[in-house]
């Protein structure tokens, strides 16, 4: 009976001011869509980094003047380094073969390379022991005679890591700024609801209604607004993700861009929690000072 009463009050209050309530819900929705979207995007990027970690090699292009013995000696030396897991020699012929495969549709390029063998040097392909060792290997190679040039994908990796971190910063700032806006908007709806019912609240206080009995309908109202906004956000991100995966399925392997369902579900629960907390904090803020006896 009491619970029914409290619930009815909250629902009635939401009905009384649909526009204001809608604005609060939309604020929660936008906030959480951006935050949730960023979380999902970050997962994809981290996943990418993981894949790259395994495949990346530091490539040391060798001077054409090196003899076979010198190359073997160099290969052994590099293989002895702590940060190196594996070294593979890639000859000029192999390089040319690879080049032919990569640019099979551009015969003019292949012709150029075939005419001047010096453009495609032999190389050592070095697999680092740890992802973080890229730069160390690169620095060590820089002072080794006979190495013409060093190429590593570390710039690309770093860029990805930076992007992932930036995305996180973005998500956190979005959450702080828009989250605050959402809390304030909810607080505003609650304040209006309190104001609309001030007479009733005054009478409730006079006849001895408990503090929580007065407050709970408003807390519940804020809670509903937060959770509804979060539910919509989950829906938008879920559908949006499915849509993007489908859109990209022609150009990318869906396996690679599909965020696993259990990850989505876990994050959804987190997002719903955020929504609920946003709503409760908002309504507490809205009642602040108003509902003391």
């Amino acid at each position: 009976m009491r619970f029914q009463y409290v619930l009815a009050q909250a629902v009635q209050s939401i009905r009384r001011n649909p526009l204001v309530v809608a604005s609060a819900i939309v604020a929660v929705l936008v906030t959480l869509v951006l935050v949730f979207g960023a979380i999902v995007l970050r997962w994809s990027i981290d996943e990418d980094i993981g894949r790259w970690d395994d495949n990346v090699r530091v490539i040391a292009f060798l001077s054409d003047e090196l003899s076979v013995e010198e190359v073997t000696a160099l290969q052994n030396e590099v293989a002895g380094w702590e940060s190196v897991e594996d070294v593979v020699y890639f000859s000029k012929a192999q390089a040319l073969e690879e080049f032919r495969e990569m640019f099979a549709d551009q015969p003019s390029l292949i012709e150029v390379v075939e005419e001047d063998p010096s453009t495609l040097p032999a190389s050592l392909r070095i697999k680092p022991a740890e992802a973080a060792d890229y730069s160390e290997i690169r620095n060590q190679l820089a002072v080794v005679p006979g190495v013409r040039e060093v190429s590593a994908a570390d710039e690309a990796i770093d860029a990805l890591v930076t992007r992932s971190n930036r995305l996180q910063t973005f998500a956190v700032s979005i959450f702080l700024v828009l989250g605050t806006a959402a809390v304030v908007l909810i607080a505003n709806t609650i304040r209006m609801a309190v104001y609309a019912r001030r007479e009733e609240i005054g009478i409730m206080r006079l006849v001895g209604a408990g503090n929580w009995f007065v407050r709970v309908p408003f807390l519940l109202e804020g809670f509903f607004e937060g959770v509804i906004g979060a539910l919509l956000a989950v829906l938008v991100v879920g559908l949006g993700h499915g849509f993007i995966v489908e859109l990209l399925s022609t150009v990318a392997d869906p396996e690679n861009i599909q965020v696993p369902l259990d990850f989505l579900l876990r994050q959804s629960i987190l997002v719903l929690g955020f929504g609920a907390v946003t709503g409760l904090v908002g309504s507490a803020l809205g009642m602040w000072g108003f509902l003391k006896d």
């Binding site: 007479e199 006079l206 006849v207 001895g208 503090n211």
Partner: protein, 259 residues
Amino acid sequence: MIRLQDVSKVYDGGTVAVNGVSLEIQKGEFVFLVGPSGSGKSTLIRLMLRQEPPTEGDIWVAGKHLNSLPSWKTPLLRRSVGTVFQDFKLLPQKTVYENVAFALEVIGRPRHVIRTQVPQVLRLVGLSAKAERLPQQLSGGEQQRVSIARAFVNRPLIVLADEPTGNLDPATSVGIMRLLDRISRTGTTVVMATHDHAIVDAMRRRVVALDRGAVVRDQSHGAYEGALPEDDDEALAPMPPVPVAPSAPPMTGEETVEE
């Protein structure tokens, strides 16, 4: 039942509303608080309801020491005190029945209690037939009876009435006073602030007269007039057909509807 010990209330800005009032009211007593506007009657009632704290002094109501009562227990205090105001304070969108039931609902009384007690108290105030009406369909006197029903439905130890007849004509006021008298006879303590001379003089109950926040007279079977200064304009106010506060609902029109 109610005890005030050297109670003073000074508002921000230095207005002294109550000045060193000591008062003891026994269980079942009927007490008039009289005095001109601004003499501190309403403030005393607000203090007893703990709507505000005293600046100085101690207050006990219904066995509770208000000064040391934790704020979350204020609702418990108010459940043992019924209140009636000049402006009725009824919820316009609720029917008579719902208005009275509301007082029980919000303190969590079970439904079967509400179903028996509300009709009972409506019979007591003579409004059984109008239970489904809305407040604006009632006369002022009827509305006040609804608010008395609401104050009494939980069988409080004390009923505090602040100018309950302030918006009503003399004939209607008599009905309200009969009702408060009946409530008082059930053993309920009734404290009523008023400037209605006729009522106070007719009832011959205990009169506590206030002036500028201090008790100037406390008579067990008093009349309104006494130590009150003659130059006070309030002494002229409650003559029969005087229209009350400008904000008050138009009594005359509604009374004709009733009678």
